[in-house]
């Protein structure tokens, strides 16, 4: 469903954000990407989301080679993906209803369809009673649920999540992760989730990749990797959690 082959990204300041990264993500999977800050996680998600173009390598999405896509061609593929951000990135001057409707307005969907779709999605993320509220009036968890509903509005096949729970407390994190898992099982949407917390990976992903300094240093089934980490970065990320557990 998604394939990255030897993808390299060098930013203008000659930082090698991604180096020769190769991975593949199956349809219907929940795939986790973990790494320390600066490892290149967001860059990888931007590549998949067609917000940045690779300097070398090949990217395939939904069976299409999108490596050289830009402009309208890229926008067409983007509309089959939804993105959820760490900072929610909601439109502050629009209420919940209008935020969820936003991607549908972009594709000029008709009004009755928009209304029907918005109430469907509000039900899915359990925000039916908040449709008229503005983002500033919501809690972090509620904001993220609006963002998830918005990302799902156009019926995407892929949901990209860049640290969707990093701004949330652990209780709310659990709530959002359960919602993502439900969306995956109920709607069959492929989910890619980026995080620096191994707990998030452990909670919902089937397969995972470990990124270190722009390289994919480990790739495979989450259960296997956690049980038997090969790379020092994987061990380090697992140890962070152990050390924290030890302190409690």
């Amino acid at each position: 469903m998604i394939k990255l082959q030897n993808v390299t990204k060098i930013y203008k300041n000659s930082i090698h954000a991604l180096q020769d990264a190769t991975l593949d993500i199956d349809a219907g999977d929940i795939f986790g990407i973990i790494g320390k800050s600066g490892a290149g996680k967001s860059t990888m998600l931007k590549m998949i989301g067609l917000l940045e173009r690779p300097d070398a390598g090949r990217i395939e999405i939904l069976g299409q080679d999108v490596t050289d896509f830009s402009g309208t061609a890229a926008n067409t593929v983007k509309k089959q993906m939804g993105t959820v951000f760490q900072g929610f990135n909601l439109l502050m001057q629009r209420n919940v209803e209008k935020n969820i409707a936003f991607p549908l307005e972009l594709i000029k969907a008709d009004k009755t369809y928009i209304n029907q779709r918005v109430s469907e999605l509000a039900g899915l993320v359990d925000l039916t009673d908040k449709l008229k509220a503005y983002p500033a009036q919501l809690s972090g968890g509620q904001k993220q649920r609006v963002a998830i509903a918005r990302a799902l509005a156009t019926n995407p096949k892929i949901l990209l999540c860049d640290e969707p729970t990093s701004a949330l407390d652990s209780f709310t994190t659990g709530e959002i992760l359960r919602l993502l898992r439900d969306i995956n099982t109920k709607l069959g949407i492929t989910i890619i989730i980026i995080t620096h917390e191994i707990g998030v990976i452990r909670a919902i992903t089937k397969r995972m990749a470990v990124l270190s300094e722009g390289r994919v240093v480990e790739l495979g089934q989450t259960a296997d990797i956690i049980a038997n980490p090969q790379h020092s970065m994987t061990k380090l990320l697992l140890n962070v959690e152990k050390n924290l557990d030890g302190e409690e």
Partner: protein, 225 residues
Amino acid sequence: MENLWITFAAFWPTLFDGLVDTMYMTFASVTIAYALGLPMGVMLVATGPDGLMPNRPANKILGMVVNTGRSIPFIILIVLLIPITRIIVGTTIGSTAAIVPLVIAAAPFVARMVEAALSELDAGVIDAAKSMGAGNFQIIRKVMLPESIPSLVRGLAITTINLISLSAMAGAVGAGGLGRIAIRYGYQRFQTDLMLITVVFIVAIVAIVQLVLNVLAAKIDRKII
């Protein structure tokens, strides 16, 4: 006190005409200045280094045009624009003629106000729109401008106040309005009481515009609960 009332009553028709003229000049020049300045401000942001369509040469040229416009003193601008004003309006005297220099003075200012308002916007919402496959024009129309409306309204308040005071200055060189009255009675005829009444009027209009637009900006801003 009674005297002042009599003076005021006799003066009122003149004052009222001046008020209408000032409002006409201000309203017309604000409208046209935004028609020119709003797209310029949007382009300044869009062509900027972090903009939707970074374009160094275009950004530099636009910046230079705006800075030049802003650095010419208004009174000189009026004189400089006399030939152009004559072509557009047919005359260089009167309130309608004053609109030309007022617009040319205000448009670059509006461009900077709009630029400032749009630059305040959190880059995250633009990223979100891009991730949905929104085109640049959609991002400007459906994200950047609506999300900046409270800030744009605050800018509108400042622009309007500036134009009221510039229109008063234009009164010195033949435009109508309250400025003309203040100069005619206060400076040319030494009727200080009439000049004071006029000045109070100008100050009151400025205060009302400021109050109304700022209250409006706060009321429509959904970011502040």
